[in-house]
Amino acid sequence: MFHRDAGALKTSYGEEQAIFPVALDRWAVVALMAVGALVVPFVAGPYWLGSILLPCLILSLAAIGLNILTGYAGQLSLGSGAFMAVGAYAAVNLVIRLPWLPFPVSFVLAGMVAGAVGLAFGLLSLRIRGFYVAVATLAAQFFIEWICTHIPWLVLNTPSGVVSTPTLFLFGFGFSSVPSRYLVAFVTVVALAFVAKNLIRSSAGRALMAVRDHETAAELTGVDTTRAKLTAFAVSGFYCGVAGALWAFLYLGNVEIEAFSLHRSFQILFMVIIGGLGSILGSFLGAAFIVLLPVAIANAATLFGEALKPDVLANLELMIFGALIVAFLIIEPSGLARLAVKAKDRLRRWPLPY
């Protein structure tokens, strides 16, 4: 009743091909973006804005990147953290060494560097398949970590290996306050999410899905699988790279390899799986879930007060987190995005049961 696609008569090809063909969806997205851009930064406190929403947004972007590679093209990657690192290190070098470049240009260039690195490791996927690719991306993770800690030039010869990021300036305005940093992340993530949504609706995106569903069949029907796989690795690298640059400049305030360890790669993989493989919406839902879950567990733990020692609590957190992941996979292997689709279905036929 509420979410009807019947009666939405289309009179042009443009309407037929719209991202959100149903008016309700369209208005919901516009409203969400308006609230996110115009209301949230002025209403939310610095804790929510800077410590919850900002990391949520940036990690969503990385999750979209991994989703393009794993969810759409079917190439399991355990190296997203490393590609974020490439983006972050490239961005800090560009911003500090070439200060006359506007920072959006630097970030796009940094993303392209990460995309090129992704492409290089993607070349391996042309020869090997399945879990072997996953282990190859693991190699990327360790190799890039090693490069970043062993070449002093990359950290601008800082002895500690940790580079503080300068404040970003655009047209003389410095993005140092929490709301302004949030807005930079918001605009970037929304823009790139739309690009991703459009990419996967195009023939290039359908080629990715064909490779995922059956590589041999795709090749036989004329899909250029080499090109599709390399596209996936490059685009995924770009998204992760931009996310890494945002993470370093807007969230951490410094560039260090610890922030982009294997742990980060797994965290992003969890976001993609929990959110839903092959879904842009799922990337956002998954990121929100993974960022909020430890906060929720920690808050729940304060109810017990002093009864829990910190080391016990840390281990309980691990247990609950692990158990929830398994439970979630058992209950809904298709992820949170699937729940959203189910909810839409319910809205469409409400109040009728079928």
Partner: protein, 296 residues
């Protein structure tokens, strides 16, 4: 002592440390072979087994009793995993099962440390680490014992798979799950057996690695050492895991000593991976892995 005998010493040292990698890789291969699951939790199982063993030792139990109790704990864990994680996920995509084992490994890391605490414990197996001299080459006695243990383990496992009814059923499941089920092989039981065997391997690996590194959280990281061994040898080949373990052990040591100084050291994290991938580019299913034929 000349350059050549130093070289031999490095090679022998590498072979022996390769055996330690093989120990961990065997656990992965066993589960992948029998159920197609890439069990990321193997590293956490190593930690869990070693902590349990040391925990029982601290109660004042003799070593054999602690070993048996830890083994019993690993078997119970295997049954529990089969019931709670694998059974509800039968027939799901491999990626989902892989993710479930990552969740499982996080759970186990928390669980093991919740029960036994987080402090680093030493583990003395009563084997001296004094190097002995054989034909002018110094060899660590401990590494030699570890290699012997691994050899016994592999022999026991191969005998189990070749000569017992359960072992044959297990190979049937590995070969063709559906056909095995049709022939009346109880899948759940077989999976529990496989995970139990992987738990047994984890216990042995945990003892050897625990004695070397101390029983601590870092034990979970030995899983990352075993991955290049697996891809080099092929995911479904026990012989491959053994050969690849030795190859990786030797080449890692050689690279560390002869290549490391030129690039600033610390290459042991990624060198085995680079080597394994270089081989994969020539043989995409690993040295001993079964090549898959794609059908439409």
């Amino acid at each position: 002592m000349g350059d050549f005998s130093f070289f031999i010493e490095v090679v022998v040292g590498g072979l022996l440390s390769g055996v330690m990698y093989t120990l961990v890789a065997l656990g992965f291969v066993l589960i992948f072979k029998a159920s197609g699951v890439f069990n990321f939790a193997q590293g956490a199982m190593v930690l869990f087994a070693a902590l349990t063993f040391v925990g029982f030792l601290e109660f004042g139990l003799p070593m054999w009793a602690a070993f048996l109790l830890a083994l019993a704990a690993m078997l119970a864990l295997a049954v529990a995993i089969e019931r709670t994680v694998l059974r509800p996920l039968v027939g799901q995509d491999h990626m989902i099962l892989f993710m479930a084992t990552i969740g499982l490994s996080i759970f186990l890391e928390g669980f093991a440390q919740l029960i036994w605490g987080t402090k680093v414990r030493g583990l003395d197996l009563g084997i001296s680490d004094e190097p002995i001299e054989i034909g002018g080459i110094l060899i660590s006695q401990f590494d030699l014992s570890a290699a012997a243990m691994a050899a016994v383990l592999v022999a026991v496992l191969s005998a189990f798979f070749s000569y017992t009814k359960v072992g044959r059923a297990l190979r049937a499941v590995a070969d063709d799950t559906q056909a095995a089920q049709v022939a009346g092989v109880p899948l759940g039981f077989i999976w529990a057996v496989v995970w139990g065997a992987a738990g047994f391997i984890a216990l042995v690996a945990g003892l050897v690695w625990g004695a070397r590194l101390g029983v601590q959280f870092a034990l979970t990281l030995v899983a990352l050492k075993a991955l290049p061994v697996m891809i080099l040898g092929g995911f479904n080949s026990i012989a491959g895991a053994i050969v690849a373990g030795l190859v990786i052990g030797v080449s890692e040591k050689l690279a560390e000593i002869y290549l490391g100084p030129f690039v600033g050291g610390g290459i042991e994290n990624w060198f085995p991976y680079a080597l394994a991938i270089a081989v994969l580019l020539i043989r995409p299913a690993g040295l001993f892995g079964a090549a898959r034929i794609a059908r439409v």
